[in-house]
Symmetry: D2
Subunit: 409 residues, 4 copies
């Protein structure tokens, strides 16, 4: 069979799957599961076009990796066919450990379990199935391969993951200002001492990338309505978990029920294959079908939250730079208790306070974006001349939010 | 509250919701349900970006309607604010009666129930809720309003529904040749004797629209792999229905179970509110979560089909212009019976033969696309000069297919 | 020096110049001249964005050639580096013999001189300069190379020239329906018996390409206002030529003056290097600067036409399927004579009658578009099943026009 | 005649000319002249697609103005039809006083003459022709109208001029990161105390706009190769001027010759109609046709520079943050003198040193970009919270360059 398949990507046009191994990985049920996990979870409530999946993102990141590798080879960087395939496999599988709704459940039923660790664990399982064909991909993913630029292409402050998700998320949300300028950035990539750097003339493109990324954070990922919806689904899952563990009947698919009923740890995942098997059957479908069932659940908190999110009847959300006053929060809870006829404890479940924050560039850590000056020096882009404001991009911006039912207004 | 909301549409940019009534309709749970029904059902197995929903399509069609109305008004066609809002409400709600997976279930569990009739029925329910605010929208939808061009904008061979779905489907699949050229076509619209016509200079754009539409049919909607996947899901639902009605336990959400267990007719829908209530809780989520459960069902046919579609392990499909020979079909069934250890009757469930067909333009019916010649005559575009091949577009193309498990090859 | 240059093309993104020879050809003054020749001549009067040049088109066609060659190589067609470079050089230079305003002057001062012959002649001159490096490119251009598919990629009914100009012209005019779907068509190319064919599944894309091309003809290239402007500039050049040859003083650049004063033949070009030298200094600049001077010329016909075209005060144009009646034409001339105070002979210069025609596909000639059926046969696309209307696309559509000053209305 | 014309803009799609006055202004020969003045002058040597004209830009800015006015009206700002038309006329004509090559000649033959003053002067002439129909447009253009937001829409740090040119220049160069996000910015406009402000949630869009604009400056407008070409054309015009004024024969069109021979001042323009008449006949055509003639001029400096720019044989250019050392400059001149056999004085003409600089946002002047906070305060965006780096955008970046013939390397 011809495995050199081509598929249509509205973002990049025709995309080719370059090798048989990559084709077989895509065909695997672990990877096909990503078709059922949306990249942006609840964002669709604000941006109705943003329904794209982890599956599509992974394919796109693989495509950008192939462009990056071609650029590097054209510039004389020696890259073997095996290294190239491994780098593409690593990026293809980098998100394979994501649970339903991408991030939301990490803060509820998968508390304490890191999706990157699960990705790694699943890659090892696949490696066993494919007789070690993923050895090098795993090294690259972990950052233990002796040529660090491969890992940086997979995971760094300017990796193919970010370039694809910014490209794709801005495309599907329609927020065109969020486009990162991936084409130009990739053309500017090069390697010095086995590390990834960009040609100096890329500085404006890097700044534009960082600013676009920040815009995407505040306009999309941390959009106030999106934040409200995400907090609601987190609260739904937490409530379902509490009720289940307290012995109440909470209908759910077998896979979801398992994780509602039992707290699992990272170690559990890695030692108990039954857990992994359940995990690999879990996707957005389980969450939404459960929420639909829970809209009829006798528990008032669970049914109110479930019905509300189905009808996009979202919590009112307010943002401010200071934390919300404790008295103010108590007042809100009292209003909820009264309006909904709930106990204080239950009413508190319908008020959510928290914090969102983002910095556009982490200039001080290990993983900086480096440029190669015309004189041959490698410097952190924040130190490169001409751009007084890249440093400023390093400052963290933080906001406090509070959400609660509109009915109390 | 400000109900003049704006949302981002990757296809059209910023789109405004023009009136409070339209805003309230969009907020209604009947309409929010469309968020959970994909426009193109199984097409995502071939075009991974094609995940857009009926919700988004309905908003887009409403937007094109507003552009069409503005063009007509600029050309001196008198249109009242009430008529304009009604036309937009009619197109907004035209698909509200769609069931899960858009069309596939019409050929299984909703056999004999017409989605347009359900749309009409739901519009009447909404009309009651909104105290008659939809009276005129319903007239327009049904084609009983005395100014037929409004109905033609909602439903005809060149309506805002088609222009939006071709625009949207070509955008999200990445099949750019499928773009219908909606902007230009809309600018060419005018009204003669209360009927919709296009200026004569639009003939090339009309031809291009018809050819693009045909391309979308064969490249997307009737793509062989999409056809294979659709036939599989139809077979899955039929099998689940048979098993349920035969008394076997077939897990499903309450809403889906209801329709698996009981054949409903158009009349049932219109007389029994409980049926409608169930229907309005049914969406793609119910189907996919059931399929996931059925992958473990004891029935071999059901579990094989369910697991296969989840893993995108699709039937091999062949197409030809002649029907497939009966002996050939029997041979296939025998191979399946042997390979899977099934009875003949069960094996026959894993072989599907059928027919797909399409004509680009129905030139002979009542509902033609008409142009206004420079001399003031209104003629069917197929009769307009200069385009020897529009007539040829009227010919129906038909293909026969057969699908079966790849394992028997 | 690094000659692996990259440039930005709004149509294709980043485009790489693949070899040093190609880079050096682009740098040559013969090729740089194409920067001063607009691809679409007078079309800018209707589509103000359509200012792109032969220079840009040639680079774009070279880019599509590189994509086509890569596709063929991926499908196992053996193509040497030398063949690949030659094919790219051939397409890069295919338009190098174009005179100012692309086509208009071919019907006036270059009457009887074929631009393709001049391209060939210039390629031979360049070949001498580059020590025979263009030997193979010239064979491919002429169609004498023993592997005809290379010539077909340069010049046939589905060549890289057409794909680029349709892409580019639709982009810069904003007529999006004119996009030919080049990406998909190129992916479908293959070679059978050294001839270019397309995979059978390309039939819908081919039809779409032919229909888009026809749309571009009638909407852009033969647009009535464009036709009017082109006829005016042709008449201007003819008048200037007559006056010059009759001994009147008609200011012009030395290069333009030469061709106004003296009729040259194909043979002259090929035997007299001085003529070629003059030709290679001629571009749109010469025409427009002369027209500006001629707006003050004492000859009434010349100054009226020149001032009019500068101010976009264009002739009224009418189109019909029948030729315009001789009496009607005489009547127009009389009105012009009266209105402008001209003799009949001069007035006749301000009335232009003619004919435009186009057929979307020449199905009967030698150069057909062929597809490879699944059964391995190569057939003319017009014979391929499923598309009743491709044959109809072969019919020629013809229109008669008449243009004259608006002042007589 | 129907003057409600529509034209195709590749950047915005279909654009409507809203009133008869605007249509008549566009038809005027003063405005048609802008068809022959490229927006970006020499930029085409780096970005071959960047051939768009002042004509197209002015139409685009008028279109954005109509979008901005519609947004403001939708938000309840009272705008009369007369004000709306005047604002559109003002932006349509804002560049009508531009000379050939947009900016380059301002630094040579139009030294000391301000193009905005000429625009104003031409607007007054048009106003006389149109019987005072431009009274209000002129007030708005000058900033004397009592509702300052109209002037701010025409000319400020976030005006429709900038939004269009950034949109258009990024489109035609292919530098997609330069897109300013005009749609969203316009939707965020509002008016407080008759001044233009943006809603607070626009802060990320404003930052993105400023960063995109800076990127366009360094990547396009001040691109080193563009700078080199611009300096060459300036030097060409200066040399031609010197030679002409020294009595040498320097062929040129009558209009260009006039300005080469005679220094004109602002006052001359405003008092001598003959000067204005000559100016309104001057465009890019005059410059390029003269440069073509000058390639054969006996003056070595003039012919070398002219032939070089025609063949895109551009000066080598170096940039640095410090000024270039005087001794280094003298050394360069000596090398030129030797290599070209020129006197020192003449050789110095082939060496150009200078300075380019840009700041992304002028935060301290009168004309700030202001946002309206949720609490109803109007503040400079640089003072708005959340964006530590907008202040940094105010810093001016400056670079020194030196250019000279590649032959001396």
């Amino acid at each position: 069979m011809n495995k050199k398949k081509i598929f249509n990507d509205p973002v990049y046009g025709f995309v080719t799957i370059p090798t048989e191994l990559l084709f077989d990985l895509i065909e695997h049920s672990y990877f096909q599961r990503l078709r059922r996990i949306q990249q942006l979870g609840l964002t669709m409530f604000v941006y109705p076009g943003a329904l794209h999946t982890r599956f599509h993102h992974a394919l796109g990141a693989m495509h950008l990796m192939s462009l990056a590798l071609r650029t590097l080879k054209d510039k004389g960087v020696a890259i073997t066919a095996r290294e190239g395939e491994a780098a593409q496999a690593a990026i293809l599988l980098h998100d394979i450990g994501h649970g339903p709704l991408s991030h939301a459940l990490e803060r509820s039923i998968f508390h304490g379990v890191d999706h990157e660790q699960i990705s790694l664990h699943l890659m090892r399982k696949l490696n066993a199935e494919f007789d070690g064909a993923l050895d090098l991909a795993i090294e690259i993913f972990q950052g233990t391969y002796h040529r660090p630029f491969f890992h940086q292409l997979v995971s760094s402050q300017l990796d193919m993951d970010r370039l694809d998700y910014l490209n794709r998320d801005s495309f599907y949300t329609g927020v065109q200002e969020g486009r990162p300028g991936a084409d130009r950035l990739i053309k500017m990539l090069t390697v010095v001492d086995e590390k990834l750097v960009l040609e100096e003339k890329a500085v404006y493109s890097i700044e534009n990338f960082l600013v676009s990324r920040r815009l995407m954070y505040w306009q999309v990922y941390l959009h106030k309505t999106v934040t409200s919806a995400e907090q609601m689904i987190i609260r739904i899952m937490q409530r379902a978990q509490e009720l289940t563990r307290a012995g109440h009947k909470v209908p759910a698919s077998p896979a979801l029920h398992f994780f509602l009923a039992k707290a699992v740890t990272q170690v559990d995942f890695e030692t108990d294959d039954a857990i992994l098997r359940r995990f690999t059957r879990l996707d957005d479908t389980d969450v939404w079908s459960a929420v639909k069932l829970w809209a009829d659940h006798p528990d008032k908190v669970l049914n109110y939250l479930s019905q509300s999110i189905l009808d996009r009847h979202l919590f009112k959300i307010s943002l401010q730079t200071e934390p919300f006053d404790a008295d103010f929060q108590i007042g809100i809870v009292e209003l909820i208790a009264e309006r909904f006829g709930l106990t204080h404890t239950d009413a508190a479940q319908l008020m959510i306070a928290g914090r969102i924050s983002n910095n556009a560039y982490d200039a001080d850590g290990q993983d900086t974006i480096d440029v190669l000056t015309k004189r041959g020096r490698v410097v952190n882009v924040a130190e490169a001349s001409d751009l007084p404001n890249i440093k400023a991009l390093g400052q963290r911006v933080e906001k406090h939010y509070i959400c609660y039912p509109k009915e109390i207004l």
